[in-house]
Structure formats: C-alpha cells, structure tokens
C-alpha cells in the first residue's frame, strides 16, 4: 500500500536539515540523566539512542500550559471584557522518533478532544499540523507492558511514518499521506523493503515480559468494581501528587484559569490531575472525592473501566511504564489491574 523507504544513516542528518526548512521539529533530547521531548533548534538532531522520555510527547500537541484567549479589563477600550483569540503557530511540525506506545496514546486522546459535538481547536489544530514519525523499540524497558494493552513495540497506530533501526539504515514505512509527504520533504527517496521488520518485531515483543491483566474488567458492571473493598489498601501509600498523570501519555485532564496582570489578562489552560483534592471541589465546599481512596479509585477506574465502557476501544493505557517508574511510592498499575481483574474473576 504505502511506500517503504530505506534511509541510510549517513543521510539522516541531511534529511533532518531539509525537514527543518518546512517543519518545526520536535524530538527526544538528552537532559541530565534522562531524555525529554524538545523543539529542535536549527542543526540539532534528535537523540534516538534512548529508551523512552521522562515526560511523554503529548506536550507537543497538548502543552502543560497554553493561552486560550486574551482580554482587557480596561473599560476605555472598545472590546473590554470580550475574549480575544490568541495568535498561534500551527505551521507544519513533525515529532521525530516517538515510541509506538506514545503514538497510540495520541489516537486514544484524540477521541476526547474531537467528538461529534465539539472540537477542541487548540489540541486538534496542533494535532492536524503534526506529522508523527515513530521509532520502533528493539530493546523495550523492563517496565514496558505495551503488548498487553493492545499496543506493541512496532505498533503503527497513530503514526504517519514508522522507522525501524536496521543497522546502517532505517527502514521507513510511510503509513499515511502525511508520512509520504514528510519523507519526500526530507529527500528520503531510496526504495526500501520491510522484509527484515517481521523478525525484529517478534524479537522485540518476546522481550516484553511485564503485563497488565484486564481481560475480565469489561464483563463486570461498574458498580461491582467501584464498591470493591481493596481501594483503601491500594490508596494508602498514594501521596496525591500529579506525577503519574503528568507523565502519562493518555491523561488529558486540564484546568482553565484566568491570569491577570493589571488590566490585561489571559485565559490559560493548564494540566490538571484527578489526584488532587481540588479537582472536584464544589464552590459550596462540598467535595465528592475528598478522601484519598476515592481519588485513587477514580484514576484506575477511568483508565481501566470507564474508558473501556464509554468508547469500546480497550483500556486507556498503552503500557509505557512511566507511572510505574516515577511514582514516588511505587504504586504499580500492573498490580492494581491484577487486583481488579482477580476480583472480577472471583465474583
């Protein structure tokens, strides 16, 4: 169907330079002892020798803070107290070298921001301007469990191009028109073939031994899991920070806040987290989730049950393992899901 291109690694830098003329480029960059997605400056190359980044590349379409509108409170101005659009740069951009788990996460998150009734312009305009170039994982981390979430180290969902490391070259599978366009813009035109991919894929998948167990969860009605007795135990150690939600590529909750300086202001959208008590605090002071176990339950039920029931597209987790690696008290979604799954099996 779509082209397979062979990219000689000697030609990679040149191709990225060509791309930088017509795309804003984002890629993983080394930062102290880890990697994070950054906008590449002219001449910079993404560091593709990495496991996965600390924070997911969701920030390329969904930044931690962004301005939605500006306004003036100065009543002498004609448009005072009326929300004004903010000029945004949605010129073409490309994310180079994201992992297949993060790419699938973007397609899952899209279901939230692009519905039949409403289209979030900030997320969608950024998404539509972006070409996603993935890098298949040959050496998954010990905490990766993508294969049990409906994803995998060579998964193509959500990507426009998939790069497979083949020693001296990358095998580039163009998966969409956008992908073909990018490869052409980079000048990558040598015909390639994907014969080697299948073996590499199998080898990578075999390396993943960690898994998440959720096969029974769709059977049960929400209420049975909701009222289960194990939530207090799971929640005890949780310190209700935002680490898991900020690191997670499928988390999307946000807050809307106005920030003023004198008479001028901006309506901001900031990442928010269901783990914080303020998340559901009513103006009256009533808080339906004022106890920690309720919030912890909300997070896992949303990821592993509510999303499943609402969209029938599987769980809202791609097995990237970031929450497992970064939780300060080592709460492990694999353990939690097993507890939930075993509980359903027992009922």
């Amino acid at each position: 169907m779509m082209k397979v291109i062979n990219i000689d690694k000697q030609k990679w830098a040149g191709g990225v330079e060509s791309l930088s003329k017509s795309y804003r480029l984002f890629g993983p960059m080394k930062e102290d002892d880890s990697h994070n997605f950054k906008e590449l400056k002219k001449g910079e190359l993404p560091d593709l020798a990495y496991g996965n980044t600390k924070l997911s590349p969701k920030s390329t379409v969904f930044p931690p803070s962004e301005a939605m509108f500006t306004y003036t409170l100065d009543e002498s101005k004609p448009d005072h107290h009326i929300l004004q659009d903010v000029k945004k740069d949605y010129s073409p951009r490309a994310v180079l070298g994201m992992r297949p788990c993060d790419a699938k996460a973007v397609s899952l998150v899209r279901m939230n921001f692009d519905t039949p009734e409403y289209r979030d312009p900030y997320w969608m305009d950024a998404y539509e301007a972006t070409t996603f170039v993935g890098l298949a994982c040959d050496a998954p981390c010990s905490t990766c469990f993508c294969t049990s979430t409906g994803c995998g180290p060579f998964n193509e969902e959500g990507l426009d191009v998939l790069l497979v490391d083949n020693g001296n070259a990358y095998i580039a599978k163009a998966l969409t028109e956008k992908g073909e366009k990018l490869l052409a813009a980079a000048g990558f035109a040598d015909k390639g073939d994907d014969a080697a991919v299948a073996t590499k894929k199998a080898a990578a998948e075999a390396k993943i031994t960690a898994k998440i167990e959720t096969d029974k969860l769709s059977e049960k009605v929400i209420m049975d899991l909701y009222d289960a007795p194990f939530w207090a135990d799971i929640a005890f150690s949780c310190i209700n920070c935002c680490t898991c939600t900020y690191a997670c590529p499928t988390c999307w909750c946000f807050d809307i806040q106005d920030e003023n300086k004198g008479n001028e202001g901006v309506r901001m959208r900031n990442w928010d987290s269901c783990m914080t008590p303020l998340f559901t605090m009513h103006g009256s002071g009533h808080n339906p989730r004022d106890k920690k176990p309720q919030r912890v339950r909300q997070r896992f039920m949303h990821k592993l049950k509510y999303f499943v029931d609402k969209y029938q597209k599987g769980i809202m987790c791609v097995g990237c393992g970031r929450c497992v690696q970064q939780c300060p008290v080592n709460i492990d979604i694999r353990t939690v899901s097993k507890t939930m799954n075993d509980y359903v099996a027992k009922c």
Partner: protein, 282 residues
C-alpha cells in the same frame, strides 16, 4: 539490617494481636528495583508483608497526620524527629502512637544506589523518640559538614546564583510530589491552591515555579529534619533540599535550633524570644 525486620515483624504482630494498636504503618516490597511501598497493616496475618531495607527512604510520619486511631509506626532517626514535630503541632497525639524505633545507617538513592545525599551528612541516625528499638543504637556521625552544598551557593555571585536556581527549577512540572511527600506540608489548603486571593500562578511560568519552591522552603524553616523525602519523591530529580538546607543552616546560626529533637520547645518561627537577632531592624 536483616535483624531489624525480624524484630519489626515480631513487635508488629504482638501489638496487633494484643490490641495495643489498630494498625501498623511500615513498608512492603516494591515492584521496582530500589523502591518500597508504604503500607497500612491491620491484621497480624499481614505482618509477613513488612520489609525493611535501604529503600525504605520515604518519611512515614507523613501518613500520621490527623489520624484518630492508635497506631504503630516504623521510624528511623529523621522520621522520629518529624513525629516530635507532629506532636508539637497537634497533628497526632503521643498516646496514640507506638513508635518502633529503627537506628539507621542511611538509605540508598533510588537512581544511583549510592548513599542518599542527606544520609551522608546525617547526625541524628538514632530515633529521638521511641517505644521500642529494633536494634542497638548506632554511632552518630561527627565532623560532617552538613552545609557544604549551601556554602558553595552562598559563595556564588548574584548572577551565578540566579543562573544556578534558574537551571535547577527549569524542569519542575508543579507535580507537588515534594510537597505531598513532606510530613510538614499538611495545610488543609496549601498557599498555591488559594484562590481568594490567588498568591501564585498554577502554570509552569518560571517565576511561579520559583515562588512556590521558595515559599515552601520558608514554611518548612525550623521544622525540616532533612529526611530527603522531597528529593526522593521528585520525578524530575530536582535537588529540592538545596533551599531547605539553607534555611536549616540559618535557623542553626540565628537561633541555635535543630528541628524535632525535643517535645518541650517550639520551632523558632513559632515563638518569640527577646534576644532573637534583630539587627535587620534599622
């Protein structure tokens, strides 16, 4: 330390069986290398899950705040000083607690496996308050320079200092793991969450990030025991203790104060003494 866990389990089992406490707060095995998970044991059958090793670095006093039941808690030196603080600040009552004291030789850094920074300069490895010890008291370190890092920054020029802190906080995501892991941070509404009026922006604007960290350090001044939980919790590996250490040094120099050593005195920012330094009043 293997002998410790045998003792911890024995004490916990006894306390739960005879009803002295309703629960034991300790650690259980983590799923990640060099990690453990705080746990709440209510039945003597579950005592077998308890562990004690060099990965039990999170300050368990954090889980005591405002609890109402009788509870046993496994506490190393720094943790016990936070328990003293909690009692002084009415976050828990002494007679609710059975403190299982653990003389500590230091915890491991979860990233490197080497001794954690704060443990390297610790001078209070033995619990200062306990009901039963799980081992002999260890020798306290002497001749350590607790403030070597602080002095390095103090020696910098203004521009260097500015660049140092700008760089240090550049990766902060405002996840509040540092605040939430800290036993001292128990305000019902933290100053960053106030809205009437709003003191600090919630986004990642560098000025707001630094305001949050500076103010939090000040709120901990005179109370911080340098347990290192804030640094251990930070997912971005920010050296959060850089500021708290400076304020700890200031309290030592200005007020001759060390936090959490005695139930009889309140921290310096809580009390007033006529011969407090006041040469800043011109």
């Amino acid at each position: 330390m293997d002998a410790y866990i045998t003792k911890i389990k024995a004490i916990s089992e006894r306390l739960l069986k005879d009803g002295t406490v309703e629960a034991v707060i300790g650690f259980r095995e983590g799923t990640m290398p060099m990690m453990s998970e705080p746990c709440f044991i209510k039945s003597s059958d579950d005592v077998k899950d308890l562990v004690w090793n060099a990965n039990c670095r999170i300050n368990l006093a954090n889980y005591l705040t405002n609890r109402k039941e009788k509870i046993a808690i496994v506490a190393k030196g720094c943790d016990s000083r936070n328990i003293v603080n909690h009692i002084i600040e009415n976050k828990i009552k002494r007679d609710q607690l059975f403190i299982i004291g653990v003389p500590c030789k230091g915890m491991n850094d979860k990233n490197t496996g080497a001794l954690q920074d704060n443990c390297g300069t610790c001078t209070h490895r033995n619990p200062v308050i306990y009901d039963e010890l799980v081992g002999d008291l260890v020798v306290e370190q002497t001749g350590v320079d607790k403030y070597a890092d602080v002095k390095k920054v103090e020696a910098m020029s203004t521009d260097e200092k500015w660049a140092f802190f700008e760089d240090m906080y550049s990766t902060c995501t405002r996840c509040y793991a540092c605040r939430n892991a800290c036993p001292l941070c128990y305000c019902p509404t933290c100053f960053v969450d106030e809205s009437k009026p709003q003191w600090v922006g919630k986004a990642t604007d560098p000025i707001d990030v630094r305001t949050y960290h500076f103010l939090r350090a000040y709120h901990c001044a005179g109370r911080c025991t340098d347990c290192g939980s804030c640094e251990a919790a930070c997912p971005q590996n920010i050296k959060v203790r850089q500021l708290t250490k400076k304020l700890e040094k200031d309290c030592a120099e200005l007020f001759g104060w060390e936090a959490g050593l005695t139930l009889d005195k309140r921290p310096p920012l809580d009390t007033f003494n006529v011969d407090d330094p006041n040469d800043f009043i011109k």
